[in-house]
């Protein structure tokens, strides 16, 4: 199996007068593990159905391996879709499920069952072929769905939140397994999730979506360190958001007057206009306890997360969250503390929509 590239070219999808996908352009590399991350209802499933052929674009083009897919049904595209609810065939045995795509291609029974067994071995389900899907556990069913999709040797595997029904432990285990299968097969994976942790750990690249638009595409560490919009900054990872007015602006740097005083940080793209409203974004792990008179407040809550403590610090109406290492003296709730942060760790973005308003 070998993956091919997928390109979306200025795609719109409208349902009636509701625009589910707005002007989306994407380029997925061959053999890439590409995630589409966004909150529920932002159009992720629609995007996947667009690639798999269940949905035709209202405008724009879908290209797979360079070929325009317009008018080509799902049964004639080199893609395989793993549905959010898996959609295994409950009346068929696991083996028949996996062999179904080969059956549809007219491959003789003996051969297709042998290939189904080989695929079941690939997903660590040897000997389970005679069971019905209903007799398997959630994680096993998940693997049957993967084997069934891989059986047709797709160039692109499309996965719609495939782990969302599993419990946390299993989910983490399956992340590693999916990644391993992707490496082993070389198939292009387009993986949909609303779980930013999942996207960050598994993906080569991620597209962050909101309200039918792609806000940013990048490698996980890029999205985390260099979010292009307030939405990406707040959806990917945790974030302290301070709102204020731009007091001074220079290329790559700006000063913002916030309720906690004037903060100087770096800007992402261009210089914000002086007097405009802006966000100052600070990651919780970048805040540290200090003696200086930086950001002062009172500890309102303290939660142990294992390797670090989560401190909630209040100052007036503003609340900051800081992750402080679990070593030395940790301030008790009620204690006055001062938090320090490097200017390079304060990102200034023009005011806009955030993920958790």
């Amino acid at each position: 199996m070998r993956g091919t590239d997928v390109r979306l070219d200025h795609v719109d999808v409208t349902f009636g007068d509701f625009q589910a996908i707005s002007d989306v352009s994407l380029e997925v590399e061959p053999g890439e593990f590409f995630s589409i991350l966004g909150p529920s209802g932002c159009g992720k499933t629609t995007l996947l159905r667009l690639i798999s052929g269940f949905q035709e674009p209202t405008r724009g083009r879908v290209l797979i391996g360079g070929a325009d897919m317009a008018g080509r049904g799902p049964n004639r595209r080199p893609t395989a879709l793993i549905f959010q609810n898996l959609a295994l065939f409950p009346l068929m045995s696991v083996r028949e499920n996996v062999a179904f795509g080969l059956e549809a291609r007219g491959i003789p029974k003996r051969e297709r069952l042998a290939r189904a067994d080989a695929l079941l071995a690939l997903v660590a389900l040897e000997g389970q072929g005679a069971k019905k899907p209903g007799e398997l556990s959630g994680g096993q069913r998940q693997r049957v769905a993967i084997a069934r999709a891989l059986a047709v040797e797709p160039a692109v595997l499309l996965l719609d939140e495939p782990l969302s029904a599993l419990d946390l432990k299993l989910r983490q285990h399956m992340r590693a397994e999916l990644k391993a299968i992707q490496r082993k097969t070389g198939v292009t994976f387009i993986y949909i999730t609303h779980d930013q942790g999942e996207a960050l750990t598994m993906s080569d690249r991620i597209a962050v979506m909101n309200r039918g638009r792609v806000e940013q595409v990048g490698r996980p560490e890029e999205l985390y360190a260099e979010p292009a919009t307030p939405f990406v900054a707040t959806f990917v990872g945790e974030q302290n958001v301070l709102i204020g007015t731009v007091a001074a602006s220079a290329p790559g740097e700006a000063a913002v007057d916030t309720p906690l005083g004037r903060l100087v940080g770096r800007t992402a793209n261009g210089a914000p206009a002086v007097g405009s409203r802006a966000f100052v974004m600070i990651r919780p792990e970048r805040l540290r306890l200090s003696d200086g008179a930086a950001l002062a407040g009172v500890v309102s809550r303290r939660d142990l997360e294992g390797p670090f403590f989560v401190l909630h610090v209040e100052s007036g109406d503003t609340r900051l969250v800081a992750h402080v290492p679990n070593s030395g003296a940790i301030p008790e709730p009620g204690a006055r503390v001062a938090l320090a942060v490097d200017p390079a760790d304060m990102l200034i973005l023009p005011e806009g929509e955030t993920a958790r308003a």
Binding site: S52, F54, P74, N75, A87, L91, G101, E103, R105, V152
Partner: protein
């Protein structure tokens, strides 16, 4: 049972149990047992008996004439005695005629004439064919209704299906009669394009064909096929159809491997219901063919009861139809591989 007790409590469960028992006993068991009893006895053939009565009456009249003309007192006494004896015989014979002795046995079941046996077999086969045609016609309708792209479309489809059923069954059959009659809608259309000539009585005798009977039966019983299939199809996750398509399956294979296996209990219910209704149908063949298209077995049963006045033979006919139909139903359930439990679900 225990669930009912838990859900409704003691007294209410008792009421429910009594009602169900009453229903089973009065409306199912008792009539069937009575029917079975009727079918198992017959009474002495009355033809000989009435001839004997006629003969005895004639003899008595003669004796009376003789007696009136007789002068000899010895002979007169003899004739009087003969008359009394004859009157007793007549009374006995008449008693035997009004309530002849019952003879129990299987004679009613072995007396079916070859013609009636032929009609019996043809009715069963035709009913099976009606069920098969109804399945072929109704499956796509049920599928379209279950997977209509919008709820509005589904509602429109269902309304279109239900409207004809708001009409009484007889009226529906008469409506078909108007369509298929010699001077009906179809023949008028044919006449308009020159294919028939109503003045010259040159027309297509639709009503004399099995085809017309089939069409009407399918249309009259279609709903009993559409609804169970639609109900099971509505429980099929549309993603399964999409998954099959995504894996490259043709429309035919999707139906054969995914949709039909899922709909099987509904299909079984539909086929069994339509078969039973068609096998026992009386009004449709009676109104439609008026004797020109060959009898349906239920018409024979009717005639045994109400024209030949032979309730015993009628019961035997009716019971035979019931038993054979049930046997076929169970055979179909085996063939479909569905159990009663699945069907009643």
């Amino acid at each position: 049972m225990r669930e009912i007790l838990r859900a409704f409590g003691g007294p209410l469960s008792l009421v429910i149990g009594t009602l169900v028992g009453f229903w089973l006993l009065i409306l199912v068991a008792v009539p069937q047992v009575a029917m079975l009893d009727y079918s198992l006895w017959s009474q002495a053939a009355n033809a000989d008996l009435s001839a004997a009565i006629d003969r005895a009456y004639a003899e008595a009249t003669m004796a009376e004439f003789d007696r009136r003309a007789e002068a000899n007192p010895a002979k007169a006494t003899e004739l009087d005695e003969k008359l009394t004896a004859l009157k007793r015989t007549i009374a006995e014979l008449e008693a035997a005629q009004t309530s002849p002795p019952k003879t129990y046995g299987l004679q009613n079941y072995t007396r079916m004439s070859p013609l009636h046996a032929y009609i019996f077999v043809r009715t069963i086969l035709s009913a099976l064919a009606v069920a098969a045609v109804a399945l072929v016609v109704c499956y796509p309708i049920a599928y379209a209704a279950a997977f209509a792209p919008t709820p509005r479309r589904a509602a429109i489809l269902l309304t279109a299906l239900l409207v004809p059923y708001a009409m009484n069954e007889l009226l529906r059959v008469y409506a078909w009669l108007m369509i298929f009659d010699y001077r009906g809608v179809l023949n008028s259309l044919f006449a308009a394009v020159g294919l028939a000539d109503l003045e010259a009585r040159r027309w297509v005798p639709f009503l004399e064909t099995q085809g017309a009977l089939f069409t009407v039966m399918v249309s009259v019983y279609a709903l009993f096929m559409v609804f169970p299939i639609m109900n099971t199809l509505q429980t099929l996750d549309p993603h399964q159809i999409e998954a099959a398509r995504d894996l490259g399956a043709s429309a035919w294979r999707i139906h054969a491997r995914v949709v039909i296996p899922h709909a099987k209990p509904g299909i079984a219910v539909g086929v069994i219901t339509v078969f039973m209704l068609a096998a026992g149908s009386f009004a449709v063949p009676q109104i439609l063919s008026r004797g020109t298209g060959g009898d349906w077995f239920s018409q024979l049963v009717y005639r045994q009861f109400f024209e030949a006045n032979n309730w015993n033979l009628g019961s035997a006919y009716a019971f035979s139809l019931l038993v054979v139909s049930l046997a076929i139903v169970f055979a179909m359930m085996r063939a479909f591989g569905v159990s009663l439990r699945e069907i009643t679900k």
